[in-house]
Symmetry: C2
Subunit: 336 residues, 2 copies
Amino acid sequence: MATISDVARAAGVSPATVSRVFNGGRVTPERVERVRKAASDLGFSPNRVARSLRMQRASVIGLLVPDIENPFFTSLARGVEDAAQRTNLSVVLCNTDDDVEKERRYLDIALAEQMAGVIVAAASRKHTDLSALAARGMPVVAVDRRPRAAAVDAVTVDNQLGGEEATAHLLDGGYERVACITGPAGASTSEDRLAGYRAAMRDAGVSEESTRPYVRYADYRVDGGYAATRELLALPSPPDAVFVTNSLMTVGALQALRESGIEPPDVGVLSFGDVPWASLVRPPLTTVQLPSYDMGASAAALLQERLAGSGKPLQTVVLRTALQPRESTRGPAARD
Amino acid sequence: MATISDVARAAGVSPATVSRVFNGGRVTPERVERVRKAASDLGFSPNRVARSLRMQRASVIGLLVPDIENPFFTSLARGVEDAAQRTNLSVVLCNTDDDVEKERRYLDIALAEQMAGVIVAAASRKHTDLSALAARGMPVVAVDRRPRAAAVDAVTVDNQLGGEEATAHLLDGGYERVACITGPAGASTSEDRLAGYRAAMRDAGVSEESTRPYVRYADYRVDGGYAATRELLALPSPPDAVFVTNSLMTVGALQALRESGIEPPDVGVLSFGDVPWASLVRPPLTTVQLPSYDMGASAAALLQERLAGSGKPLQTVVLRTALQPRESTRGPAARD
DNA sequence: CGCTCCTGATAAATCGATTTCTCAGAGAAG
DNA sequence: CTTCTCTGAGAAATCGATTTATCAGGAGCG
């Protein structure tokens, strides 16, 4: 691999001049030409490791997500990646498994690798500690979930409003005993969506006391949704509708319902977070669509702004969710 | 951030000694103790960039996949990541979008970042050029798709056999005019699965000539599957079953079929590649399951073997697919 | 003509860890 | 007692790019 000195020698100039040609310094046009030619002849591409060491900053950003198998995060990751690509940043994708310890390890790596910045969907509201990064001046953007006290930019959706709309939609559809299966107790998304559910129920005149048995915390995974649904069905007075706060748990919930022989529309199911194959489930599922790709893109844009040295005060971008009813898309084959 | 010299100073030794303590050199126990203490007092963690520069190798491996939104690759990525974690390797995930140019750019980055190695699901059988990596002695493992002539280790599944079994299963089910929607013409997986289809049709006494109209190349995406299915349905004598060679295209195919009012079991649909929600589609879909996670894990293991300096001859690991019939799981609510 | 100022280029320092080279001192062998 | 060997440790070179300090040479001005 050709180094900057090889190019310098071939072009008959000093390494410093070569560096200036590529990083914008004043160099006479004639030399610029010589250097460019020598570089392309030798197939020179600068060693990013050496550059990072000298610059004290790599051209890599870290993206920490709890579960890359969750389509929401995959799509978010694409948003980040596409935006990052535009400024020649690479993205390192890290799975935290919602494990604070694993997350901490990745944050250490981000520091040791001198990454340019980090976008993080925090594993825990309380325990995720971003202070070490802040201390080193590394820009951080929180996405999807807000860590509690950290002073960082953030991109979220209005989870409470979304949860409220979702629940209200079920109530409007004539369902009465609406249950809610939400995510882990620590996460801001779980709590906010649940708060939306509670608000909608209150508005409908249902006391908080009587909703209590219908609320279940699970883990945002298929199995969690399944187990929670089984529990709900075993209640003396089981719910006639369920608001599930993420798409993977919805898969589990539908499986559990199917096993019990109860299915939409006999039971109402509403998923927070889009399911790409929602239209294939019979009858089609109503979902709250999350702008996952845009959240990733916005987060990356925010981070890049900070990297460029923006001194703006911290900002939180809140995107809107969109309720997508699917009753109307019942295909002609839905004869039952 | 504390450097190795800070630690050395605090412990009253030279930086060389500190390095030896952490990387296994001969140091007297008493000094080891002093260094360890100083390091933990200062919260020292070695700067990976500096280390990479000196070692001429980073502790990062690149994973290049065509589409991270495809569940197959997500699961494969987890396999790679879990295996890599065990030897303290980080994984950089790169989306190539099946674009040879984008892929080339990522391969360049892998070189410039001095990554320890690369695992690649090649965008193109012909045009993916791994020679530059090989020339630099960077270990490469091909996964899922075999690049044509490259001398690299590989992990694949027996796509032809899988395609044959899948097609045979449809024929056994009583379907006669079986179509095949396969992936991009360049990719080895497309061609091999198609070859399996052709073999099965031949065995059933159908001439290659007459299968020709029933073969469609698409792009392994939802939309591609949709469009191909529309075309097939518009034929004078439309197929009565279709073998779709990946799960995303299957979603598209099912959508197209639904729109036309034809659905399983009136038409046979068999998906190559598992669909996590297969059991929710009515009636449940038969799929060919791919050991995606294991493929990732095996690829990572192979790579690590090379990194450890194994001089073994090149090997190709071929995993088996598993046909998963789902007819029997029809739930009680399937009354139509 | 002499002096200052400016421009473009180079030499050398720098980033932080690893590793080779060199050396001092302890212990063994003669 | 001298010489040789061996071990542990420090000094310094190294990886490759960026950047600061320095310098040479030409233009402009009095």
